[in-house]
Symmetry: C2
Subunit: 398 residues, 2 copies
């Protein structure tokens, strides 16, 4: 056979995603792109903030000698120093540039972190529903993913996590604001999680690392403040990107920040840099490292997303859908009115609405809507959601 058996199996396992994608494309061919309501992808339609465009113009007009050359595999010292200062301000912890490794987005950062941390067969605990790509990232490094269900409101099941930790556990990975649920874990659950990790670490005589995927950290509503995991637990790595806050997903720019008091921080940071190099990333894209450095406090206008969240949340609940109100990211994860989420998602397709079945996130019986699209598309789609709700008797008066 031409291709790796493992890759072949993984591709077959996710072939229903492909089939649904192809059905969506077919719908677009039939009805025209503007008549299909595509909520299947987290590809923000927003443009980067004007400050970024200005920085790009400045660099293009006045190029710096050597600005496209290799730099240290961890990234530009200047960029890392700026990020470290930002983190020191945010956390009160003594971050400096050594604690930052610039990466090819958060996806690159997670692969680097798992490669640096995991031995063959070591486990990573992931609360479910979860971003399905995590499974591949962990497997790439020879690790094993152990899912722990969240509660009905998608908050962390701390007892479940504690029970799942055993001698092979190396990492707990959390993603907040969460894809696919939009949930933000509250300070008290982070505090309790930290207590559990300390206790179990002591019992097992090892350090359990906490990795926080904070790709959506700036996309947050209702004046909620994202609790800072660094303040609860020292053995923490933050993996994040500027894909969402600066609307640069195609540019692949992010970073890993290692808690200054993290266990064996120096060896860990060396291993991260080594992995960034040898996994073939080599370094985060040079030009983007320069562009994002001065924009650590900037962000796209989050109210635009909040308005769309409100629009969807109010409409869907008024149609009778059961929905946990998202506090961040740009996803909403309602319960499907029937158990079979794939059938339900096909019902929505018949209304030219594209969503992703919950089983794509380890949670059958739900579906994900990505609302990082134009407001008008949301408004025009609502009738379709209402009609399907009516079909399943969610809404009594049509």
């Amino acid at each position: 056979m031409a291709i790796s058996k493992k890759v072949k199996t993984a591709m077959e396992d996710s072939s229903w995603v492909r089939r649904m994608f192809e059905e969506g494309e077919e719908l677009k061919r039939l009805h025209g792109v503007s008549n299909v309501f595509d909520f299947s992808l987290g590809n923000p339609e927003m443009e980067p903030p004007p400050s970024l465009k200005k920085e790009l113009r400045a660099l293009a007009d006045h190029p710096i000698a050597g600005m496209h050359r290799y730099m240290a595999n961890s990234g530009y010292s200047e960029t890392r120093a700026i990020i470290a200062r930002f983190l020191a301000d945010e956390t009160g912890l003594p971050f400096d540039e050594r604690h930052i490794v610039m990466t090819v987005g958060a996806a690159g950062g997670l692969n680097v972190a798992f490669k640096a941390l995991l031995d063959e067969g070591e486990e990573v605990i992931v609360p479910s529903p979860y971003f399905a790509e995590f499974r591949f990232y962990i497997d790439n490094a020879g690790g094993r993913m152990r899912l722990v269900d969240t509660h009905d409101d998608f908050s962390l099941d701390l007892e479940g996590i504690e029970k799942a930790i055993h001698r092979n556990t190396k990492v707990v990975l959390i993603n907040s604001p969460n894809n696919p649920t939009g949930v933000v874990y509250d300070p008290s659950s982070l505090e309790k999680l930290a207590t559990i990790l300390r206790k179990k670490g002591q019992e097992l005589g090892k350090t359990i690392y906490l990795i926080t995927d904070e790709a959506y950290r700036r996309i947050i509503y209702d004046q909620v403040k994202l609790p800072i995991a660094f303040q609860y637990y020292p053995h923490t790595l933050r993996v994040t990107s500027h894909s969402k806050d600066l609307a640069l997903p195609g540019e692949r720019i992010g970073y890993i920040a290692v808690h200054p008091h993290c266990g064996e921080a120096e060896a860990l940071i060396s291993a991260l840099i080594f992995s960034n190099r040898t996994l073939g990333f080599v370094n985060a894209p040079a030009l983007m490292q320069r562009l994002v450095a001065p924009l650590q406090r900037n962000s796209v206008d989050v109210r635009v997303y909040e308005e769309k969240r409100d629009l969807f949340y109010h409409a869907l609940t008024s149609f009778g859908y059961q929905v946990v109100k998202p506090q961040g990211a740009f996803y909403i994860f309602p319960k499907a009115p029937i158990e079979d989420d794939v059938t339900f998602v096909k019902d929505l397709q018949s209304k030219r609405i594209l969503t992703v079945p919950g089983r794509g996130f380890g949670k059958p019986g739900y579906f994900r809507i990505a609302y990082c699209v134009e407001k008008q598309m949301i408004e025009r789609s609502l009738t379709g959601f209402e009609e399907v709700a009516f079909k399943y008797g969610l809404k009594k008066t049509g």
Copy 2:
């Protein structure tokens, strides 16, 4: 332990590289950067061609809506179509955009190719001396590297390669122009290699893939024409980047091209795209995909490198060093006058000259000079090379 045992071992094994790097840094601290002749890294001091800078200004001044968003994991259709047209012209083969996957440089491309092709324990044959990172790339995908020595002039030992092929062989990887030797494999050796791969493939009842790492394909001298592997063997993947020809190494932009008649091409291309996504690259940097598309026939001024090659080659041979004259890339790989290349490299350090011992490329007894530096640095370093030659009796008259 905090970090992966495998990563720890790999880092320890290469710790002498680190030690030498640190000694070099110490020299720079002692004598000042401009008084240390650093030939240790392939980080070109050249700037991208003016055409690229112009493209960047045009895009910065007139941004295209959505130009920083995600695109297909294989890259922009437009960019792939332009590259495919270029390849069709070059080879006479029916390349189209489906045969191109844009990658995060050649290092990213090689990791993607190995992930897509290799099952646990399958072997990749690599002619030695070789670029040492290949070992990690192959290991990342669970493969095993099998080195086959080249001849004294660093040409391919085709008999040796034929003998090394067995039922677990999946890939032969060649790198031409070669790092560290600068050698370009000639048409006849590619033709013979193709014959061997066909014959052994038939004997073993499987397809053996040829991967050509052509990162230095435009850096070529003496009006030598780089033979096109695609024209000799259908089961060929070209992995390359614009790090060297457009002097963009920090930007991480390259591609994989799959021969249109490659065995199971469709499955293979799907696996490449899947691996590009799940290894965490997601896609090649968006802005760079646009910038390099119209510049497929452009390149930095290669005569600048050729002049430096000539300078070094003539000086070193006149000092009595045994040197195979490089026909491409920007490396020269002379024989050390003593067996112990690390000791010899330290002798050069005593003259404030930084090079890399041959054992870093699987070839003790040699050393690598990367001459992608300012001409003046080369000129100022020559006395040091001469003095060390004299010490070892290479040069009789001092």
